[in-house]
Every structure is written in structure tokens, then in C-alpha cells.
Point group: C2
């Protein structure tokens, strides 16, 4: 969707805007959810960007702390000093019984300085990273906001703030690696002689990639829903078919490729979700083979009925390149979740919902079924 609501921007937009604000050396503060207890709308790691010029982008609550957070951000922009604030929304009247507004929430609010650069560099390289930030300190030598970022290339700090002390880093390394692999965030307490530190371990992953092989009209619709859901969208058109950015206003990248070379356009294989929708059986087969053999993409959705895939698989077997079970496990066909809506928008919704589910290791069924049927009365002990 092209009109981004500033509140509900995707992580992709947050990352892109962080990088753009750093590029222009903008005066901005970043609020990050560090810890929540009770009913909170956003989880640890959720961010809000508050530049001096322009509107805030992102959300750290469902809306109940807009005023206080904005004023805190203004203070941080002025002082240049990171701070951690606890908001207790449990005591009733002021915030009411509001969902997502009756928990306790810890926010880190810090200036957008060069301590963010190692993280942003990693994201630009399609790599995850973990920012380690001191959020409580009993060591007078280690101020709140001290930050070291763990990346695939090693540890890095900015020059504007101290790093996390070496002796603490050692005991944080395992947590940092886990957070990087899982994209999770949470607080780790480090007991040290010089004073206990609470460190926010913020694993940040690049946005997932949606690779659409095909350039018919229906790819446009999938691109639109995919971008809206937070994917970075590449449209790869085959055989010199139209590969025009203007045709795909929601795609972040449009490339022309031969189907056998589609793998060359996979930039972050382990977080790329591919959909084959060239509408041409031969092209789809060549692209399927290339993606399964030459990349580690976890998901290749194939448009069309099951019979079409049978045909395609038999053709591969005839060519003596029969698919293995582990390759088949990566193929999703018929592509999409079962939404029963065969319209172009229904199909796009179904595909993007499935790619989202697979990207998050979720099953795609109805949540209410997973928590058991609802009964008029439940035993309070269950």
C-alpha cells in the first residue's frame, strides 16, 4: 500500500527510515520497548522513531502513551543522552481497562547516533545483528545507553557512546547469537564485580524478502499485499517480459532474468520466500529447479492446481533431476492459505498470509482452534 500509516509502519519501513535519518544526520530519538509485563500491545524490540522534524513513525503501545513518549523523545533529542523509563499502566483509572494499556512497560529512549551504524550496516548487507544496550547499571563507569553491536563480522561500537564492557560481553555472547538467529529481544542481567548490569539484547533481522517470479498482472497484486505486510518485494520477470518498475509500483526491485538464473537475484536465501507465477510451465519448472538446487530458500510457492505441479515434477523426473523429499518440503503447492476467495485480491492475500506464516514458523490455521474450542463454562483450573 502506498499510503503508509505512520503508526502501523512495518519493520522494513522502520529500518529504511532509520538508515535515511542517519544518512542525513537528522536529530532524532528512538524509543524501543525493552520489557513488558501484563497486557501490552507491542513486544520487546518494537520501535518508534521520533525525528525533530517530521512525524513520529512506528508504535511502542496501542496509543496510550503517545504524549509521554513524545515528550521523552524531545528531552532525549535535546540532551543526547539515553534514558530508560518505566510506565505502569496497571493502576486503573487513567488508562482504564484498555487492552494493551494495562501492563507495565519499560522503554529505552535514546538518540539516533552512530551507535546505530553497525546495526544499520548489517541490515544493508541483508544480515541480522544484535544490539546490546545497557538499560540499568549499578556500575558508575557504565552509563545507561552503553552499546555494543554483535554482527556476523564481529563486535562494533559507535564513537558517540561507550560500548558494553568486555567482561559483560563474554557472558552475553550466547544470548546475542540466539537473538540474532531468532530475531528476538529481551533483557539479560549480568552479575559483575564492578556492578550488576541489565542489558537489552535486541536481535534485529532484515525484513523478509518476497521474490515473485512472473510479471503478469497478478504479480502486481501479490506485490502490493506483500509490501503492505512488510516484505521487501522483488519482481523477477522472465524471458525479457516487461520488467518495468512503473508496472510494479509496490515492488522494491524489478529485475529481468532467465528462469535458470533466478537464483542470482536471491540476496538473503534463508529469509527469501519465492512464488512462481510466470504462468508458463516450462519457465516455472526451470525457476523451481534453480531455486531448490542453487539456493537455500525455505519456501517456493507454486501457483496453480496440484495437477500442474504433478506435471512439472514428472518433467523433472524425466530429465533425471527428480526432486528429493527435502526439496519437496520447501515447495508449497497449491500456494497459499485456504481462504476460499478466488479473486485476484483473495489469491494475493492467501499467498502473502502463507509466506508470513512460514516466515514465522506458524501454521496458518485459526488461532481459536489452536487454543481449543470455546465452552460456555471452563474449569478455572484449566
Amino acid at each position: 500500500m502506498d499510503r503508509d500509516d505512520p503508526w502501523s509502519v512495518t519493520d522494513r519501513s522502520i529500518h529504511d527510515t532509520l538508515a535515511a535519518l542517519r544518512d542525513e544526520e537528522a536529530n532524532a530519538a528512538v524509543a524501543t520497548v525493552v520489557d513488558v509485563e501484563g497486557s501490552a500491545y507491542r513486544r520487546p524490540g518494537a520501535k518508534l522513531l521520533a525525528p525533530a522534524d517530521g512525524d513520529a513513525l512506528g508504535a511502542v503501545t496501542a496509543g496510550c502513551l503517545d504524549g509521554p513518549v513524545n515528550s521523552l523523545a524531545a528531552d532525549v533529542r535535546d540532551s543526547g543522552t539515553a534514558t530508560v523509563e518505566t510506565f505502569d499502566l496497571t493502576d486503573g483509572e487513567e488508562w482504564g481497562l484498555g487492552l494493551g494499556c494495562n501492563g507495565i512497560i519499560d522503554l529505552l529512549v535514546d538518540p539516533l547516533d552512530d551507535s546505530y551504524d553497525p546495526l544499520l550496516d548489517a541490515l544493508a548487507d541483508h544480515e541480522a545483528a544484535t544490539a546490546l544496550t545497557v538499560v540499568r547499571s549499578a556500575d558508575p563507569e557504565v552509563p545507561v545507553g552503553s552499546r555494543t553491536t554483535v554482527t556476523a563480522d564481529g563486535d562494533a561500537s559507535g564513537s558517540d557512546r561507550p560500548g558494553v564492557p568486555e567482561d559483560a560481553l563474554d557472558s552475553l555472547r550466547a544470548a546475542a547469537e540466539d537473538a540474532m538467529a531468532e530475531g528476538t529481544s529481551g533483557v539479560v542481567t549480568v552479575e559483575r564485580e564492578a556492578g550488576v548490569l541489565d542489558v537489552f539484547v535486541d536481535g534485529v533481522e532484515p525484513a523478509p524478502e518476497l521474490l515473485l517470479f512472473g510479471s503478469q498482472n497478478d504479480a502486481k497484486t501479490v506485490a502490493k499485499f506483500g509490501a503492505a505486510a512488510g516484505f521487501r518485494v522483488t519482481v523477477a520477470s522472465s524471458r525479457g517480459a516487461r520488467a518495468d518498475g512503473e508496472q510494479f509500483p509496490d515492488a522494491h526491485r524489478v529485475v529481468a532474468t532467465h528462469p535458470t538464473e533466478v537464483a542470482e537475484h536471491v540476496q538473503a536465501p534463508e529469509r527469501t520466500y519465492a512464488v512462481l507465477m510466470s504462468h508458463n510451465l516450462v519457465d516455472d519448472r526451470l525457476a523451481l529447479e534453480a531455486l531448490l538446487r542453487d539456493t537455500a530458500v525455505p519456501y517456493v510457492g507454486l501457483m496453480g492446481p496440484r495437477e500442474r505441479f504433478d506435471e512439472l515434477r514428472d518433467a523433472l523426473a524425466g530429465d533425471d533431476v527428480a526432486l528429493t523429499q527435502s526439496e519437496l518440503d520447501r515447495v508449497s503447492t497449491p500456494v497459499g492459505l485456504d481462504l476460499g476467495d478466488g479473486s485476484p485480491t483473495g489469491i494475493a492475500l492467501s499467498i502473502v498470509a502463507e509466506a508470513t506464516a512460514v516466515a514465522n514458523d506458524a501454521a496458518g490455521g485459526r488461532l481459536r482452534e489452536q487454543s481449543g474450542h470455546i465452552h460456555p463454562r471452563v474449569d478455572p483450573s484449566t
Copy 2:
């Protein structure tokens, strides 16, 4: 989404545009898929509007017939006469092995005249209707394009074209009622002494309604995805909270209501999908009770964790208005499909995907699971 791609517009947009073009007495042709055999992208009933002024809207194929369809539409606009054309895309070279482009497709192309008015009137009243249109005729008295529309108020024809003959109508009534109830479309052959007729029975339902109770930021995001997926979206804000159309650019209607009166804003109960997201437990409880007791809405999604619903249900039981099992069956909590994405856009995608699945009697899981696991080799007899 606010930039509608003309090809992938929703049925809601098609209906709205049909009505607008009729209002301004525009010169336009309508192409409708009547029958398909083999691999077709769109199902019978899919429509494309081709006004003399302006771009075509909608899709009857995946894009393989754009030229022929547009030229046929121009002929129909000139002649004012309905026509049915068969396109055989099975013979290889010209359309290739294209998915959705290697079947046989029958298109009805007719002028947008007053024979459309009974259908459009029904849709404006939030009611379904079935248009019966002769698509093949062995009776010289009954031209192709003859149309009678069956509505809840009875049968109606326009004055610009003949209706379907009375003797044929009798044998079509059951099919028309079924099509109206299910929103399905297909051809029925009527054997008559005066000559066999093939009649296209086109059941058309109004767009499904998404009723969002709540006016926080997150409602905005659900409205955006809901509108993009083809719902007509109403935002009902409670207790005089902001109920400003400008706050909800994707909502088709914004109303302020007391939670106990939310049922008054349900215009088409059997196709309304409600989501309670006021973030206020008392308001959500009152609205839940009102929707379940005063309306027949089939789906009430409730934001928040399962425990929140337990609390709410216990409060109802304490008020001696315990929910019955059939009422509970209409409640979906936790709301949404299991996509594992807790961001604002992920939650909105999950809710709209679930409402779409429920609206289409679909289960929401992965389609590939439903068709069985994929094996390297399958017995061709299965």
C-alpha cells in the same frame, strides 16, 4: 489500499463502478466469464468493465485476452447488442503453456444498460440477486442477452432488452435461488418447445462487511487491509471517541455509537464480520452481547488473549446473560489466523485473512496440507 490496480479491483469496486457508470449513463460494455473449461484464471461471474471513456476495470483472464476483449467491448458499445464469444486457448503456440491461459473460455459481453438496474438496486439495499441472461438461443424470438433479474422483491427486467421468457423462468427459479444464496454462477440449459436456451445464472452478492468496533490506531490498519481484500469497512467508535472519516481513510463508513447500540449499524447481518477492538473490556463486552443477541452476524472476532475472553464471559455469566454454545460458536478469540507476526500489519493481515476465510467457509490452514503431503512420486491412480 488507496491506489487500486485496475486489473485486480475487488468485486466491491466493480459493483460501485457499475452503479456509478449507470448513474452517469456512461457508454460502457461489461464482459462476464460465463463458462470455463481447463485452466482459467477467473471463474464464471468474474467481470470486466470497459467504459468508452477511461480504462477497463477488472479481469476476465490472467491477461491473455486483453486485446480481443477490448475490441469486442468496443463493438458492443457501438452496436448496443449483447454477444457471447468463445476463446479456445488450448491449441498451444499462441498462448503457450500459460497458467490460466490454456483453457476454453466463454465470455458474455453486453452493454451496460438498464437491464443491470434491478441487480444494482438489490446490491444498494445490501441484498443479493441473480441475473438470468440468455447466452445461447435456438428460439428466434429470444435473442442472446435477454435478461430477467431475480431479487428478494420478485422478478424484474429492464426496458432496453427483452426478459427471459416466462416458461423458461419457471424451470430456472430453483437455480436462481441457489445462486443468490451462494453467490455462485453457471450456465443452465432449458429445454423448451420453442427452442432450447442456455441461460447464464449469475448469483451476485454484495461485498462482505467488516465492522470494526474501536477507533484506536490499530483499527486503521485493519481497515486498510480489509478494504484492500474487498470488504466494505465500517469503523464504529464507542463513547464519543474520535469518529472522524479523515482518521480512517480506508473505511467506507465511520459511525459513533454506544457499545450497546452497535447492532444498529449492522446493515447486512448475515454477511457482516465484526471485530471488537475497542481496547476497553467493558465496551467490548457490551458490544459482544449486543452483536450476539441482537444480530445474526456469523463472526465476532475479539482482540486480545484467550484469558481476556474468559474474563469477559465470566462477567456475562455473573450478569445472568451467560453465552450459549451457539453464541460462542460465532465468537473468534484469539482473533485471526496463526501467522506468528505480532506487528500491527501482521495482526491486521491475520484478522482480515480469518474474516475472509470465514466469509468463504474455508478453514484457513495451508492449502498444501489439505491436498496431502507432496511425495517424490505419486501413484497416477490417486
